[in-house]
């Protein structure tokens, strides 16, 4: 039977990691599928998992009173959904909503956190890689906040 190990080793998130670490990560991974409209997780729920999308699209959403659900960002193939599993109190910050039928690799964050206790190098490596994911999200959100295409743009007449 083919294991997930070679697939996980080729994911951009894990590419270049030591085979022993890939093996450990694979032990905490499973293939999952979501129908369009299904939620991978809801804001405030325990953040014990994260997903790497293989196909489809999910939206990170937040509920704004009086405005309903607002989509903050959509993510697609090879993107990572969920980083709150790394940071206490391990609660989801956003709703994660499958916009289309989605296939993903799901990783058990609780299982990985357990491994970090005995393998600090693995913990450091994943923290580095997730910091990069968080940095990119933060950067994108900063640009969104700038309201790039607002009325201040193109007023040279």
């Amino acid at each position: 039977m083919q294991t997930l190990e070679p697939i996980i080793a080729e994911l951009p998130l894990f590419k270049g990691m030591k085979p022993a670490h890939i093996q450990l990560i694979t032990g905490c991974a499973a293939n999952v599928r979501f129908e369009a409209g299904e939620y991978l997780g809801r804001e405030g729920q325990p953040a014990d998992k994260f997903w790497v999308l293989r196909q489809g699209r999910v939206a990170l959403e937040i509920h704004a009173p009086g405005r309903g659900l607002l989509t903050i960002q959509t993510i697609g193939e090879d993107d990572v959904a969920g980083w709150s599993w790394l940071v206490a109190p391990h609660q989801l910050r956003f709703d994660i909503h499958a916009v289309t039928a989605t296939r993903a690799l799901m990783f058990d964050g609780k299982c990985l956190r357990g491994k970090f206790a005995t393998d600090h190098e693995l913990g450091y490596e994943l923290m580095q890689r997730f910091s990069h994911v968080m940095l990119r999200r933060l950067e994108a959100m900063s640009l969104q906040l700038l309201d790039l295409y607002g009325d201040h743009y193109g007023e040279h007449d």
Binding site: R57, A59, R67, G68, L69, L70, T71, I72, Q73, T74, I75, G76, E77, D78, V99, E139, A140, L143, Q144, L146, D147, L148, Y149, G150, D151, Y153, G154, E155, H156, D157
Partner: protein
């Protein structure tokens, strides 16, 4: 095509030539159509007052449009480039001149100077992949470049258009985007910065689209147009994908007045955006973009 830096050729500057027409004197044009594109954007189709004449320009160049009683504004052509009988401009109504232009009706007259400035180097991009990155109204100056590429599709490798808008109601050329999407030879990705529940497309800034498309970084020419901060981040993400700075062109916006580098309003370090730009090879202006006082 190799990964050698591309050289930008001089733009035709007919209007500024000693033996050409006076670049400071507007020619009279009439409105053929004024079509709303979005809630604040419209497309003016113009023809020379005399009728039957032709007009030549290159993708990325701009005109100075004179709205009688209001003043002039620099507006890039948004129609297909070449020798045309009608000149097309897509304009966002944000100031006195552009709001006056928005009110023009079929048959109304306006003044037009130009074409001015350096074009997108579409010929230099031949043989390689092309990535067009547009933010907001920045899609309008890129449209003639895409038009040229699609008209000569066999001369280019993979072609991608990445477009970011403020919200779904700000998506420019929505119908045309659907047509481009329907083609199998161009990869079109559209995203919006903010969206409510009715939107089923992508949400996120335009730079998040860069990792989504396939291109060979060494042979890619990237044309970027939008707010300066957007272009800054787009270039950085292109760099992350391996596209070298000399293969990236950006279209700059400054307060253009004369259009021919006389008045100095659009001075940008040693350059005049109206004459040396608006399209610049990124490595020529990269240092200036990081200088706050310029």
């Amino acid at each position: 095509m190799t990964d050698q830096p591309l050289t930008q050729t001089d733009a035709p500057r007919e209007a500024g030539r000693a033996d050409g027409p006076d670049p400071m004197r507007p020619a009279l044009f009439r409105v053929v159509r004024n079509r709303p594109e979005t809630h604040d954007t419209f497309t003016l189709t113009l023809e020379p007052e005399a009728g039957g004449g032709t007009y030549a320009f290159q993708a990325g160049q701009f005109n100075m449009l004179y709205a009688p009683g209001a003043g002039e504004a620099a507006i890039s052509m948004s129609g297909c480039a070449g020798t045309v009988t009608e000149v097309v401009h897509t304009i966002r109504a944000v100031g006195r001149v552009t709001k006056t232009l928005q009110r023009l009706k079929r048959g109304d007259a306006l003044g037009l100077r130009g074409p001015f400035g350096a074009p997108w180097p579409v010929a230099l991009a031949e043989g390689g992949d092309v990535v067009l990155i547009a933010g907001g109204i920045g899609l309008a100056p890129l449209r003639p470049a895409l038009c040229h590429i699609l008209d000569h599709r066999e001369r280019f490798g993979r072609v991608s258009l990445l477009f970011g808008a403020r919200s779904p109601r700000d998506i420019l050329f929505a119908r045309e985007i659907e047509t481009w999407r329907g083609r199998f030879d161009v990869d079109v990705e559209v995203t919006v910065d903010r969206a409510g529940p009715g939107w089923h497309g992508l949400v996120g800034v335009v730079t998040t689209l860069i990792p989504r498309v396939q291109f060979d970084p060494a042979s890619t020419a990237a044309f970027v147009c939008g707010p300066e901060i957007m272009m800054h981040f787009a270039v950085r993400d292109l760099e992350r994908r391996g596209v070298p700075h000399p293969r990236v062109w950006i279209s700059m916006e400054r307060s253009m007045k004369c259009g021919v580098g006389f008045c100095g309003h659009c001075q940008f370090g040693p350059f005049f955006v109206c004459k040396d730009g608006p399209v610049f090879r990124y490595d020529r202006v990269a240092a200036l973009l990081g200088t706050r006082e310029v």
